[in-house]
């Protein structure tokens, strides 16, 4: 063997390739950070505030204005418009300039005092589900407090000023809601921590496909790929695994370290899962490239496979309510297994045994390397058998020499 085949030579060669390719450099070094920053920035407010609602006050009494003020005082809501007619209000509601529409009926105050229980109707835009749900919750809460105030005041007369008892009458059962594991209800932490692995998966797979493609661009270099054996391939991929793994650590330290997002689990287990995730993605990418042996077609596979991964993670919509086919597809994606481990570590801090299944699946993804080698050998022998073309033979001969 010539010194040309040493480990450090191969590594150095790959490094040369990366440093000459502006796109590979971007994908490995600054693009992931830029994308993560954009995703974080979109949700940087964390808890949606001041969602625009409109009010049609047909009563215009002290009580109806008090009710409106209570809605407006909720941090989630902002009364941006007052309409004199329902017709006008509907236009604003349909064109999305307000997310909610409160209609206070005529003689609200009079009917309340007479004990006739008037009804306030609130339309909220549930086409935008998250926004709609926030408005619903905020209105129900604001309304509840206002009613409790009125009622307590009313009962205070009956109970001769006993405040506790008056509250007890106004609110027969009180309840306290406790969110487990994401105690500040921060939507940014919730969504961004899942969106980043989804984008990261695309980045890893696409970068490795491009890195293989880079070999094909030169005149004879396509054959170099076919001359690869398992060892060559692994050495070639080491820089990508290491750099992407470092990115994972960077995300961890920025989000859970610098920005102080709650992290309850073991750093070691999380970082280990990230290593397995990166290797799983790299091996899937290798398989995609050698199935097609064409960078553009491999990239189409990447698009079909990894682009919708976020929907299947089970973070926005629970896996328990997905049909079996969705479960099947979900299980083919490394990101679905990684996110389970991430949630289990970051939110629950469980021991390794509880997530061992997901670690195992990530390891199983490595078998894609083996299939890639099989595909390479198949292509190589097909090429040798079919063509008596001496050019092709010498090309491989030359590369074998280099090997």
């Amino acid at each position: 063997m010539k010194p040309a085949s040493t480990f450090s030579f191969d590594l150095n060669k790959e490094w040369q390739l990366i440093s000459q390719d502006a796109w590979l450099k971007a994908l490995l070094f600054w693009l992931p950070i830029a994308l993560a920053f954009i995703l974080w920035a979109i949700f940087s407010v964390g808890i949606a505030r001041n969602l625009a609602i409109g009010v049609v006050d047909l009563d215009n009494s002290v009580m109806s204005r008090g009710l409106t003020r209570h809605y407006d005082a909720s941090p989630s809501l902002l009364v941006t418009k007052h309409f004199s007619s329902v017709k006008q209000a509907k236009i604003a509601f349909r064109n999305g300039s307000i997310y909610g529409l409160v209609i206070i009926p005529f003689e609200l105050e009079k009917n309340t005092v007479l004990g006739k229980s008037p009804q306030v109707t609130v339309f909220y835009n549930s086409q935008y589900i998250l926004i709609g749900k926030l408005i619903n919750a905020a209105v129900v809460q604001a309304h509840g407090t206002y009613i409790a105030k009125i009622e307590t005041f009313k009962y205070l007369v009956n109970t001769h000023g006993q405040v506790d008892q008056a509250i007890g009458e106004a609110l027969p059962i009180s309840s306290q809601v406790t969110p487990l594991f994401n105690s500040n209800n921060h939507y940014g932490q919730f969504l961004v921590s899942a969106a980043i692995p989804a984008v990261w998966q695309i980045l890893i797979i696409a970068t490795v496909v491009l890195a293989f493609g880079a070999y094909q661009r030169g005149s004879t270099r396509g054959n170099e790929l076919l001359a690869m054996n398992g060892r060559n391939m692994l050495v070639k991929l080491i820089p990508y695994v290491v750099i992407f793994w470092l990115q994972g650590m960077l995300f961890n330290s920025v989000f859970y370290g610098v920005m102080n997002w709650p992290m309850h689990g073991s750093w070691l287990l999380l970082v280990f899962a990230q290593l397995l995730f990166v290797i799983a993605c790299v091996s899937v990418a290798t398989l995609f490239f050698f199935i097609t042996f064409d960078v553009t077609r491999a990239m189409s596979l990447v698009a079909g496979f990894a682009a919708p991964a976020f929907a299947f993670m089970g973070v926005t919509f629970p896996t328990s309510d997905m049909p079996w086919l969705a479960h099947f597809w979900r299980n083919l994606l490394p990101s679905s297994h990684y996110i389970e481990i991430q949630v289990q570590q970051v939110n629950y801090g469980v021991a390794l045994v509880y997530s061992s299944g997901h670690y195992l699946v990530l390891i199983v993804f490595m078998s894609c390397f083996y299939f890639s080698i099989l595909l390479i050998n198949k292509r190589k022998s097909a090429l040798l058998r079919q063509s008596k073309n001496t050019d092709a033979l010498t090309a491989i001969g030359v590369n074998n020499d280099m090997d």
């Binding site: 835009n125 086409q127 935008y128 619903n136 309304h143 309840s175």
Partner: protein, 394 residues
Amino acid sequence: MTWTKLFKSELNAILTNIPLMVTVFAGVIFYSFLYPLPYSQQTPQQQKIAVINLDQSQLSRTLERMVDATPQIKITEQVRNINAAKFLVIRGEIQGFLLIPHNFYRDLLLEKSPHLTLTGNASYFLVYGTIIEGLARSIGTLSAQVKVTRMVVKGDNIVLAASQYAPIKLNMKPTFNASVGYLNYVVPAVFVLILHQTLLIAMGLLTAGQFENKIKNSPENEKVLKNSYWLQYPVWKIVLVRTLLMLAIYLFLSFYYFGYSFESYGISRLATIPDLLSLMFPFLLSVIFLGMTLGLLIPRKELVTLIVILSSLPLVFSAGFIWPTSNIPLAINVVAQFFPSTSAITGFLRLNQMGDSIESLVHIRQQLWLLTILYAMLTMLLMSNKQQKVTAVK
């Protein structure tokens, strides 16, 4: 050098470009089944919870039955303390729990307002919301019953008492997506993005594939030059023919999405076809030109797919249907306006889901036409440059 010949060459270039065809036909159809798949049940239901009943009175068991009867919740476990319940949450066996305190019934009789604790796994927002909604609803019902009973005991008429349990009633009406279904929420918006992204990839692949290589001066390359119709025709003709062909294909695919797909998923289609078209034209045209611009800017065609798939999540999240635009930083909102998807998603949602009139979409249509003009000009400029550069060596 006739129009027919150009038309034929262009059609041939599209039909023989396998990655393009895969993206456009296989991709669009594959996504129309794959993307809605996780959400086919529309709303999470029967979320499993545990109950910690420290009271064990008749009334507390009634409350348990009421909770279990809601569509949102299913009680699967009875545990003795909070730690045991938390353990089950971590194991993933339940998603939340309800704690009924000691003397719940006694305190209720004494009008002391007993305190229930509801806990949900907030790692998953939708699950958490569902559990809290189900619990809050059954507690609300029980409260109302207690109030009515008290009023009747005090001698009020039962009919009156039942209608007076709350002094001002609140009627919350979810609108435009009355079932608050997740499929109705995701599909109408994401399908617009899928059309946007696949069309960008298609235009980019086609254009970049033709203009990525320089032709060096050699007798062999003379032949290549002769076969490269895109180097011989004037730029405006190529752009026009290409645009018309892709527009036709995508009008067809759009009708597949907005027609057949929406119908089969039971998603509302409030817009009339002329209204839909008047928004579709500027949308598809602006995307076609943006795609060509992209194809002319990048050095190699495979990068188109990469750039487009990486942009998907940021585009979805900044489109305003997931997270309110008023809560997104201004800089991101401004940049997002340059992508046709941002205004198109809002436009199609308003037209098709919210029943808004086409007249009130004037700004959105204007914006899409402006983007069309902007990217059309960029396409012409870049393509003329490339054409000159590629053939200059000769």
